[in-house]
């Protein structure tokens, strides 16, 4: 049956007069729903800021009304101190250099420096803001983040059977974990880092070894 609707050309593909050109190496995927969509699944560790992404940034400087954050891109992102829930000119958020902030990229393109906010369009924080003290921040590839963010991810479900922990996933490849003790935190970190290359059986063996 002929697809109904326009064909979607996803990441890794570019349209030219000769047809579709592939711009990244990886696996070509196809989704038949709607008009159909093609995209390339590629491994990438370097993050390119894109509008609407939720990312974890590290505060590097305070310049007047604006914080400068490192989000892993080529430019530092800027975050206004008024872009927090309940922040006014008198009531400034308590942000120091070196803090971790989970926010959304409002403006991100190749010509300007990215801008981040910690409130959504209605003014609520909805989970964004300063990430609390302690915990462990580490970097993984972008593909693993997308896998972990998929609904009903098995890795997260199996991990939550082990111990209770807090987890923040940033689309820029950064993960923050905090569990009750340092040893539990490090076990979770090692499992998450290794789960990129483990199959499901190897993962179950690793869980059995840790919890047993």
């Amino acid at each position: 049956a002929a697809p109904a609707g326009p064909l979607l050309c996803g990441p890794g593909l570019r349209r030219s007069e000769a047809g579709l050109l592939v711009t990244k190496c990886g696996l070509l995927r196809h989704r038949p729903g709607g008009g159909g969509a093609f995209w390339v699944d590629s491994q990438q560790k370097r993050y390119v800021p894109a509008k609407g992404d939720h990312v974890i940034g590290i505060v590097t400087a305070k310049a007047g009304d604006v914080f400068k954050l490192d989000v892993g891109g080529s430019d530092a992102a800027s975050l206004s101190y008024l872009a927090f829930e309940g922040a006014t000119k008198r009531n400034r958020p308590n942000v120091q250099v070196g803090d971790l902030i989970y926010g959304q990229l409002l403006v991100a393109n190749k010509d300007m420096e990215p801008e981040m906010v910690c409130i959504d369009s209605s003014g609520k924080s909805s989970g964004m803001g300063i990430i609390g003290p302690d915990g462990f921040l580490f970097k993984v590839s972008l593909g693993l983040i997308r896998k972990l963010l998929a609904p009903k991810c098995e890795i997260i479900q199996e991990l939550s059977q082990l111990y209770p922990f807090e987890l923040v996933l940033g689309m820029n490849g950064r993960i923050w974990v905090k569990a009750k003790t340092v040893q539990q935190t490090l076990i979770i970190v090692n499992i998450l880092e290794a789960s990129e290359y483990m199959t499901a059986e190897q993962r179950k063996q690793a869980f059995a070894k840790v919890s047993g």
């Binding site: 570019r14 349209r15 030219s16 007069e17 403006v107 393109n109 010509d111 300007m112 420096e113 801008e115």
Partner: protein, 193 residues
């Protein structure tokens, strides 16, 4: 007219003997030169001769307030766009000047809804009007708040020169993607086919 070399700041003569021309200024009843160049004395039919100092054979054309200049966008920001001024009117400049187009000077209407990213991109060629010469440190302040001012030449993300389709959109002829720009409505007599 005889030309003799002179220094900047040199006192040339008193204001009773001549009137000051370009490259000179009057202070306390005397005419001083403000440039290092060749002294030129021109006799006028009515009144005193005009004394001026000329640096090169052709003088550098400086943009005045209200002049239409052609410039190239070099960087953009959420508050303004920085440009290099290439032409003043139709004469090219030997060295480029730097200009700034503030966000509120891009359009005449709906100034607070303007997004610089949807009006200009780096390496666009823009027609703008000078609204202020600026201070010693700051650049020329330019404005595109008219129908005839704005982007004239722009390249798409694919690298092809785009075709304007409305006052706020341009289309790439190869990939057919539309991009937002503040497009200038160029007068027909300036278009070359």
């Amino acid at each position: 007219q005889p030309l003799s070399p002179g220094l900047a700041g040199e006192r040339l003569c008193s204001t009773e003997e001549a009137t000051s021309g370009s490259g000179t200024y009057t202070r306390h009843g005397f005419i001083y030169s403000s440039l290092a160049g060749c002294l030129e004395r021109r006799s006028e039919d009515s009144g005193l001769p005009v004394v001026s100092v000329v640096r090169d054979s052709e003088s550098q054309l400086l943009p005045n307030v209200g002049a239409v200049v052609t410039c190239k966008v070099c960087s953009i920001n959420s508050r303004f766009a920085k440009v290099h001024i290439l032409y003043v009117g139709s004469t090219p400049l030997k060295s480029t000047f730097r200009g700034t187009i503030r966000r509120e000077d891009i359009r005449a209407t709906e100034k607070d809804k303007v997004e610089v990213y949807k009006s200009f991109r780096p390496s666009d060629i823009v027609l703008a009007k000078v609204i202020s010469l600026g201070d010693a440190q700051s650049n020329y302040l330019l404005s595109t708040a008219e129908n005839e001012l704005g982007v004239v030449v722009a390249r798409s993300e694919a690298g092809v020169q785009m075709v304007p389709i409305s006052w706020c959109e341009m289309q790439c002829p190869r990939t057919h993607t539309k991009e937002f720009r503040k497009v200038a409505r160029v007068q027909p007599q300036f278009l070359q086919t």
